[in-house]
């Protein structure tokens, strides 16, 4: 299926080309074309606002999946230093998970990300960013290492979900994810998770139990992919758009539920339209959160993390009704 965001961008590309052409020509023209250029640019901005100004949840799903959207490694490579560590020490190295030591704003961290491919070849190698149990075991190993050394954990979430294949079941995908959750809930260091693209289900949560959860403005994070939800509830994956609207999977919805702590804004039209600015902004937010959390004693950090997840939900008991405010 073609991405409707990419489709929408196609019309804009033609306009961009014409503006660039006029600018080139204008340099050695006796007649000043600046007013024409300005008019075109204004039109361009208007179209941009009209097309991208108010994205529906379904459009955000496609924005989160955009082929040019910055991926985990685009952020990690912007650290001052990154030394990748490989493998689960049991069976193999899963390229859908990248992780290792890094230096972020002068501070050593363990960085872990779900890495989808930036082209078809890389996507095949990285299984479209869908980690296998071996990948989650690498995550757990690195998180444990971070906790032992007292180094903060910084994660980048970007996956449709955990790999649903035969070998993943044979190698106990459930156990691999379950033990990541366990490790993250016990790690005695600050954890900052950023959903940079798509946060799909338990496969995303495996990297996202954190003291501070950041989402990009047009990222999504959901209990199941819209296609998966439609298949589960209505046995009809083509109702994905409807599921996307009902699931409340946008960053704005999730901040309302207390699941997400901070939203990093994106330029009009999405993060890929100004990659460097977005990456710098995200790293700045991560650094600020890590700095704040690093000042807390580990026991208090764990206590607050426990309380945060303990109160998430919506339930009634006795006379009270609660939406995420139960202690």
């Amino acid at each position: 299926m073609t991405n409707p965001i990419v489709e929408r961008e196609r019309g804009l590309v033609e306009l961009e080309r014409r503006i660039a052409e006029l600018r080139d020509v204008n340099v050695d023209q006796p007649v000043d074309m600046s007013p024409e250029i300005a008019a075109l640019e204004q039109k361009y901005e208007e179209i941009l606002r009209e097309v991208f100004g108010n994205l529906s949840p379904w459009m955000k799903v496609h924005m989160a999946r955009h082929p040019n959207r910055p991926t985990a490694l685009d952020y990690i490579d912007a650290f001052e230093r990154f030394d990748e560590l490989h493998g689960d020490r049991h069976f193999r190295d899963d390229p859908a998970i990248v992780g290792g030591f890094g230096l972020l704003c002068g501070r050593p961290v363990i960085a872990i990300g779900e890495q989808r491919g930036r082209d078809t070849k890389e996507n095949l190698r990285r299984n479209f960013g869908m980690p296998s149990p071996e990948g989650y075991r690498k995550v757990r190993r690195l998180a444990h290492l971070a906790s032992r050394l007292g180094v903060p954990i910084v994660t980048f979430v970007d996956t449709k979900g955990a790999d649903p294949g035969i070998s993943s079941e044979e190698h106990a995908q459930s156990e691999a994810i379950a033990m990541c959750l366990y490790e993250f809930s016990q790690a005695r260091v600050p954890i900052v998770a950023t959903v940079v693209g798509e946060g799909g289900s338990g496969g995303a949560l495996a990297l996202a139990i954190a003291d501070h959860v950041i989402m990009l403005e047009h990222s999504t994070y959901s209990v199941a992919s819209p296609e998966g939800c439609a298949a589960i509830l209505w046995s009809d994956a083509s109702k994905a758009e409807e599921a996307a609207a009902r699931l409340k999977l946008t960053a704005q919805d999730l901040q309302g539920f207390g699941i997400v702590d901070e939203i990093v804004p994106e330029p009009l039209g999405g993060a890929h339209r100004d990659r460097e600015a977005v990456i710098a902004r995200v790293l700045g937010s991560i650094d600020a959160a890590v700095s704040r959390l690093a000042a807390m004693p580990p026991d208090r950090l764990l206590e607050e993390r426990y309380r945060k997840y303990r109160r998430l939900g919506s339930w009634e008991s006795g006379q009270q009704e609660s939406d995420g405010s139960h202690a």
Binding site: G165, S168, A178, G202, V223, Y309
Partner: protein, 282 residues
């Protein structure tokens, strides 16, 4: 299997509703079983040995010695997304409450198992497919917290289709909530046993179900992360019948033991016995 004449006559007189209360058809071999015989046999088919999906209270009475003190029953679901498809979420919940006689998809409490004080939680597939929403997560967390205070072991029976879609991300967050409670319980040195029953998948299998010290599975139970249909669609081929069965997982090294329903309670009693003596010795 064709319906016998005498049964068809009975059906037309009594209507389907009352009929279903008397007879159960074995999903495995097709045998029609008299409900009372089935219950007397531990909800196991008298012909082929298939273990029927068991109601939570039936299971509890089969496992505890006598009394069972329920906790967390007051916790009831909200409707955080204001979910509507063919029906609203509260309407679906009410329908399942009536149909199953349960308040939610898990029943939690305390009792004795072979003389050992224990916390016991039992999920029930008959309520929203055993899906985990806020109430399931909250009740299990309350149980583990109470078990930690009382320093007693915890046994959880799982049966679940995964996270409950109608509660969206708040359902997914129950994986984090139950994990947090499990981790605190276990890090204090308490013993945690899970019994996987048919079926256990998705968000439940990928959280507390696979965090236990000992993982027991009921014979022939279907257990996995992804559903069978999803995997078949992904790989575009049919899966072998034994794929994702308890026996398959045992062979792959993912679980500790496969136990028949008749052997379940004696097995749990022995496991709790080892842990209790270990604690006393230390």
């Amino acid at each position: 299997m064709p319906t016998p004449d005498w049964l068809r006559i009975r059906r037309s007189k009594d209507g389907d509703g009352r009929d279903a209360a008397v007879w159960s058809k074995c999903p495995s071999c097709g045998e029609l079983l008299y409900r009372r015989d089935l219950a007397a046999n531990g909800h196991v088919c008298t012909r082929c040995g298939y273990a029927f999906r068991m109601g939570a209270y039936d299971r509890i009475s089969a496992i505890v010695d006598g009394d069972f003190t329920e906790i967390g029953a007051e916790v009831q679901a909200g409707d955080p997304l204001g979910w509507v498809d063919k029906r609203t979420y509260p309407v679906k919940l009410n329908a399942d409450r009536e149909k199953s006689g349960l308040g939610e998809a898990v029943v939690c409490g305390f009792g004795q198992i072979g003389g050992h004080d224990a916390a016991l939680g039992v999920m029930d597939f008959h309520f929203r497919g055993g899906t985990m929403g806020t109430v399931v997560g909250e009740r299990i967390a309350l149980l583990l917290e109470a078990a930690r205070r009382r320093k007693v072991p915890c046994v959880l029976f799982t049966a679940s289709g995964g996270a409950r879609m109608e509660e969206g991300m708040l359902a997914l967050m129950q994986m984090a909530k139950t994990t947090a409670a499990v981790a605190r319980f276990m890090e204090d040195g308490n013993f945690f046993v899970v019994v996987l029953t048919d079926p256990t998948t998705g968000g439940v299998s990928a959280s507390f179900a696979f965090q236990a010290d000992v993982i027991v599975a009921e014979a022939k139970a279907m257990i996995g992360f992804a559903g069978r249909r999803v995997i078949e669609q992904t790989i575009r081929q049919k899966l072998p019948d034994e794929f994702q069965t308890a026996e398959f997982l045992l062979e792959k090294g993912a679980i500790d033991m496969v136990v028949t329903r008749a052997e379940l309670k004696p097995t749990l009693v022995r496991l709790l016995g080892y842990a209790a003596r270990g604690r006393r010795a230390s």
